[in-house]
């Protein structure tokens, strides 16, 4: 094997998760639809399993019941002794790990797509957890190219402290799909159509790969997380300023030192400090108020992937 080629086993088992957050409705309804009529997600020789990950939260149309399911797939929670006293989502995480994992083992699913929505104006976003994963970089490059001229961004969450233990991390290749803006508890046809296309192109890529197509080396622009920024808060912990109108809906765009970031009710503008231009993401996401995240700062990197092809050919 030459150093600029990666030869990998064909992909056999893929899962598509919806309802990891029960009020992000695009994934909920796409998965429910595919459970009834899955023709559009089937590809020859590939097992594709649609799955509702947090059915109780879906039923209540809430993000979670006891705790955020998308943060508990770490060794500690997955290794806890099963008990009725555990939070619902921790018990559910162990079930999911049993069905689609175990995480980090040979038996785990090859790829899990986890479908999410955000209230932020992020458009079509793919979330990458590992910058050295040639296969996923190639897949994201394929999806991005296929969606053009519709923009598609890649958010890299590889970080020593900010990376979190996602539901999809049970698989060998975890893929987060995030489309916005869409309010919680609302289903928008335009957003549904975009997410559906992202899944179609992802499955087409896997199919082509399994069929023996070789994907030449490629470069992918990604936005790597640097830091989470909280709202200014008063002494009681209440939010003391809100996202400035100039920053609202400006996800991915450059934000320079001195640019307005927050606005207080007394009319005071709080600008970006520091000395470097950043690219904000998850600006004003509803679910992140409680996580103390008004937005995340990212920086642009280019990742280079080697050529990949399947080992069967």
């Amino acid at each position: 094997m030459s150093s600029c080629h990666v030869v990998e086993d064909p992909i056999k088992k893929v899962a598509i998760f919806g309802g990891t957050h029960g009020n992000e409705l695009t994934g909920v309804f796409l998965v429910k639809h595919w459970l009834e009529n899955g023709a559009e997600i089937q590809r020859t020789g590939l097992e594709v399993k649609p799955f509702i990950t947090n059915p109780r939260a879906v039923k209540k149309c809430t993000r979670y019941i006891d705790c955020d399911l998308n943060r508990v797939f770490d060794c500690e929670n997955l290794g806890k002794k099963m008990s009725e006293d555990l939070p619902y989502e921790v018990r559910r995480a162990q079930e999911i790990n049993h069905l689609f994992g175990p995480k980090g083992s040979e038996d785990s699913y090859d790829i899990i797509f986890d479908l999410h929505n955000t209230t932020s104006n992020m458009g079509c976003t793919l979330i990458l957890e590992d910058s050295k994963n040639d296969f996923l970089i190639q897949m994201f490059h394929y999806i991005k190219t296929s969606l053009a001229p519709l923009p598609c961004y890649v958010y890299l969450i590889e970080h020593p402290s900010l990376k979190y233990a996602t539901t999809r991390s049970v698989a060998k290749y975890p893929v987060g799909i995030e489309v916005g803006p869409q309010p919680q508890g609302v289903l928008r046809a335009d957003i549904l159509d975009q997410m559906r296309k992202m899944i179609k192109y992802a499955l087409d890529f896997i199919h082509n790969f399994n069929e023996g197509k070789e994907f030449p080396p490629c470069a992918l622009e990604v936005y790597k997380i640097m830091e989470k920024v909280d709202y200014p808060r008063d002494e009681n912990g209440e939010i003391a300023a809100i996202i400035h109108p100039n920053l609202q809906d400006q996800d991915w765009k450059p934000l320079c030192p001195g640019d307005p970031v927050f606005l207080t009710l007394d009319g005071k503008t709080i600008p970006l400090g520091g000395d470097c231009t950043v690219h904000p993401v998850f600006v004003n996401e509803a679910a992140y108020y409680e996580k103390k995240e008004a937005f995340a700062k990212t920086t642009i990197l280019t990742l280079n992937a080697k050529s990949v092809r399947s080992s069967l050919h």
């Binding site: 309804f29 508890g185 609302v186 289903l187 159509d193």
Partner: protein, 319 residues
Amino acid sequence: MCSLPVPREPLRRVAVTGGTHGNEMSGVYLARYWLQAPGELQRPSFSAVPVLANPAATAACRRYVGRDLNRTFTSTFLTARAHPDDPYEVTRARELNQLLGPKASDQAFDFILDLHNTTANVGTCLILESASNVFAMHLCRHLQLQSPEPPCRVFLYQMPREETFSIDSVAKNGMVLELGPQPQGVLRADLLTRARALVAAALDFIQLFNQGTAFPAFEMEAYGTVSIVDFPRTDAGDLAGAVHPQLQDQDFQPLLPGAPIFQLFSGKDVLYEGGPTTYPAFINEAAYYEKGIAFFQTEKLTFSVPALPALAPAPTPAP
């Protein structure tokens, strides 16, 4: 048309309520702010009282905890004996009825302005029970003239012979300010600024009236509820499709027979087969999925609103 009597006394007891639905953030945030800094709600003839209507739902950032507070101000709930199993909002409605009412009594507040947000693209929407409320119609007119952009529309929600049920019905007079689109649990600066300016303009109007200003008659368009349309559903009651992209965000725009209203997950379109042109409102509001409402069908009506006479000058106190 039977008109509600116009006030013959100055409106001294005015409340501005926010957080009636705990995840509609403009009102939540403004009410909290005014509870700390009420100066903005003061006028020479009165001081409006800020009220955080549903503190438990606000703390949980949910519409409600037990049941929708804004459907709980009916005589059944307000007059029934208190019971330990009552949903939180039933207890809270009785508290608010004590604070701001009692409903339909002489002691009730003169005016309640209730602040809401919607995920629907309604822009600025002023909601009244009916056009027979001459004072509130003049207030709407004043707000339309004060803030022409985006359009400030008047929506009449009351179905005939229906008992009033919302928080503003506790006062002698009231109105709802509904701004959208804004997701639940999100604060947008643009909508917050607009809500704040509209509240200031509403209080200014009450001040003008209290100090003896007369307002001439006018004609006004308003949208009256005709019926509700539910989503297409599966046999199990689940959604079978979404609001059609051509209808999404088109609140108050004419919808003609034959136009698509839903897109099924199978890809097929559902068309509007109604008779006359309708004006859909509250299209794809998150909180209405559970109520079986994809949108309201409204009709555009024109009302002739009579003049609002000036208050008689207060009698000079005897020396």
